[in-house]
Symmetry: D2
Subunit: 335 residues, 4 copies
């Protein structure tokens, strides 16, 4: 089993999916140990650091990659199993950014109002307690919150010769910002170009569903993942599987279209797993779906639809590749 | 403690919130034991019963009520604690209905396509096992699913002299179709007219988040609830509290607007509970919110945003009325 | 030919469509001469009059009516031909209103931002020149604009026992705010309740398409209209015909759904006029449609789709009732 | 004055904005005489040619370009004046395409319904009469329609290292599909990359507003345009000026966001032209705007907001460059 370690230099980050040359070529079956910078490029370090002063567009949400997977062809399914996500720093940051976020007008939902004020919060990590601390700025209120590390951004090069911003998710994945993308999860992505050219980034030590203010508890992350390839069977939208659930992630505007995409994809998936026709699968999913939002701030919004496996005995997705990789990951971690 | 029992006769159902005379006048503190018909009026009983043949618009989603609460005035907060929701029949039904549902064009999202086929599923209830059984029609596949009784529709008379269909939720509540409206939940609704004039209905033995096909496992329900009144403090959008979470429910189109309403209401609520300013509450909620969809099929879509109480030590909503009513409810049930 | 004059007293205005007793019962063929108050109830008279101080919700957008049309039954088509719209005052007003309008967050598209400032503009009418004058408040800039009188609000009682705010348009018509509703236009509305119960109001001396800031050049209006009734043939959405165009008006959220409704209704209409199947009518309309927006501020947005009659030789809508009423109207005016 | 002629070879077309090397480098002031292929690549020639059989994704909507404009830098304003648009063939085509268009579910607004049937219409051009003929397929109905040549697609390379499909418009322009892009129009585009790298394509012999079925009367076009460059002053969204109007074009989802972008851009533009503050410009535009839709089918919808110049005496956009280029164009045409 190949193990590849990669920490990008400052000029090696990617800011798009597509349109970037690969940083490494790897074989299916490779274990990657990566360092992922935070979405701010690490420049917001104190509560006095204003996004409008410190950030330079479009150099935000830097991605680690892309990786060229040998043998991956359009129509194939890239499989990424996240074995370990570990905070790489002892602090993380979150902010309001002018005209960015879910409860403000934006450059997409334009109004004539003034922006919300900028503010930066710094969260201190307590590794032993496994917590970060929210510190209010309008009062002395502090609140300790359990960490729940995840990756906001996972994606492949898009189809149709496109290169797309690392800020806006779509069929190729990207900045979906779902808490489901955590250690123990396996992500399935349809391959659009030779080599798949996937990247990851945007570590969150914790994030609520919706990522309302536009940014999570943003922190650099050490990422261990296993790469696998399934020939053919490309899903239209990213899928995620863990020990308890299968899920689809749609990303679009308006939000109901993101949901429709995910819900439909899962209707198809259930139909395949249980040999149900479209209407039966639609009915069944209607009664068993969970539908936690992912983001409502990233130009394309992301909606997750998932089903608990304990409600669905007997179906096994993608020939059990998730269980296989999860077991494999256990080996790696104990290594 | 007054206990009022009420089972509507066939001509006593309400099909709007507002515009209907009350069926009973009750005091705050009253326990109501109600019978709620299913959304089909009980007429879909076999898999051969087609909605287009059996249902007569607009006589669907019949509501039990309205109840006039003595002393309730505009600006007050109506408190409904659901003590018990028990299936009133041994079967329930679900259907696809032409041009109704989340994965079809509708009379609101019109296309020129043909409708999906109509199909009716009947779910048999096993009271001992606490399950209903999904029976596929395209195959012999059967699946036993745990029941999770809830009320799709809870609301008061709307403001501004309106009378609104029981099918479409809004600020007054109504057909929100959230699984959060289950036994053990307390619902807070802003009062718009003298007496509040609330109704309940639309029993679901089980429903997935999103209610994708437009109908849950629809079944008549025996409902026990306790009515309370808080002077003033009317929330803009319905709120729900249970032992583990506080939640707000927004209902609008497009879906992001439903989410924005709920998310903003919870920002305000958190701000009050913890004396945080708007930005701090926005930041905190961003990192702790859960955002399960309710319905994406009812003309106005409903989005729930909620926070786990264990992340929020020290805040107590509405002076602890939920805990009070929950304890009271235990007494009733054991009676 | 009956001529009925009606000027409401202060307590005779309606603020909903549906839920209100008729002010008059009239026969089809009646000519109505009405006085319609402006949307502010006439209380904004100087640039110092702030909406938030002078207006009392929900007593805005007062309607003149409803009128009960003898013989009108659900499924029939109410025909209203606007013979004359004449400014009833020598001034009109427009405003920004906190959290109301198209370029601000609203109570439906909620954000945490501050509202835009309130401002009131008074437009002086020059009857001889047929103009109103825009006077900037941030400078001495003045601009004379031709008047183009129209009615923002025309509607019938809705279906399904609803009573709906005069602020929000839907299938029943209401506050569509389209400049197409001017003298010379014939409006077709589907009847939902016995007597149709139609009302009109919301005079605009001039309005741009979209009514972006939420209010037009709002002024009281003298309205002369002719009422006719066609048995059956109720359109799903309001239709408008004048000497040069036929049009449909959809009202919904998001805006594309308003457009879809209007576009589809016109596909059906074209199909009937020319005996085209659905696809041919879809194709033809694609190449000949004009699509001016009506309002993007009234909770439900309104989108007009129309076709120039000179592109459509040979089709005659509703057996030529428009031409008949237009000719009749000429007689009235010269009377 | 440089005159550059360019007809692409089959392998010279571009299918994205951005990510493509320039076909020519030109100086500001150059006149371009171009051949633009139709959106189908010319392969739909009879009513038997099915899009699903003849088209190969993503090789649709081929663009002529990109052209590198010497001296153009990010923040500059590219000026394209369309001097002449002349049909390059004697026929044009239009189609329904499965899951593409405004009155069908799509890959963005997914439903479980079957697609609409595919159908291809061929329009014969009569150059002398200046008409194309619609021929119904469900009947013998024919209708002669005046031609109104326009370009569906005009754009520059996008910002942020993106390469974007020629099918989906955005801030960089692209497939806006507005009938305003006709001979006599001047288009202003913000430059994002050195050289601007603009392309044009997607000739329409005629198109209704909204382009409902997804395709206009699609035909190859001979294009004569003049290229100019203004240093700085980049508009956020594409602007169009002709002899009678100034206009802005927003492209987004949902449709109200496209409108908001255009309306806001024009508020800013009016504010500059007349030295009005934001609120005065908002008010003025509210009363004078025209808002014809462009497309409601291209994933991002496009909305035009425009104002008649005769309502706006005294303002001159971009120092009169439009009038200058229009006069220049007259010279070219008579050459």
């Amino acid at each position: 089993m190949d193990v590849v370690e990669f920490t990008p230099t400052r000029d090696q980050y990617a800011f798009t999916f597509g349109g970037v040359a690969p940083v490494r070529r790897i074989q299916p079956g490779t274990v990657l140990r990566l360092w992922a910078e935070d979405a701010y490029g690490g420049v917001l370090q104190t509560t006095n650091d204003r996004p409008s002063e410190k950030l330079t567009m479009p150099f935000v949400n830097p991605q680690t990659g892309p990786f060229h997977v040998e043998g991956a062809e359009p129509g194939d399914t890239l499989v990424l199993h996240f074995a370990e996500l570990t905070p790489a720093r002892d602090w993380a940051a979150s902010t309001t950014i002018p005209f960015f976020g879910g409860l403000t007008s934006t450059d997409r939902t334009v109004t004539l109002q003034d922006p919300l004020p900028e503010r930066t919060w710094i969260y201190q990590l307590d590794r032993d307690r496994g917590t970060v601390t929210f510190a209010a700025q309008s009062s002395g209120h502090e609140l300790e919150l359990p960490i729940a590390p995840m990756l906001g951004t996972v994606g492949v090069a898009p189809a149709a010769f496109e290169a797309r911003s690392s800020l806006v998710p779509d069929k190729f994945g990207g900045n979906m910002d779902t808490p489901e993308m955590r250690a123990g999860a396996t992500c399935y992505l349809g391959v659009n170009v030779e080599g798949a050219l996937f990247s990851v980034g945007d570590g969150h030590y914790r994030q609520g569903e919706g990522e309302a203010c536009g940014t999570a508890v943003e922190g650099a992350m050490n990422v261990t993942l296993v790469v696998e390839l399934i020939k053919g069977r490309a899903p239209v939208w990213p899928r995620i599987e863990n020990d308890t659930h299968i899920a689809s992630v749609g990303s679009s505007r308006p939000l109901e279209d993101a949901w429709r995409a995910a819900q439909t994809d899962l209707v198809l998936w259930l139909g395949e797993l249980y040999a149900l026709d479209r209407l039966d699968a639609y009915q069944l999913l209607t009664q068993v779906a969970e539908a936690p939002l992912a983001n409502v701030c990233d130009a394309n919004y992301s909606s997750v639809v998932k089903v608990a496996k304990n409600l669905l005995p007997g179906g096994e997705a993608y020939d059990g590749v998730h269980a296989h990789l999860r077991d494999l990951a256990t080996t790696i971690q104990s290594a």
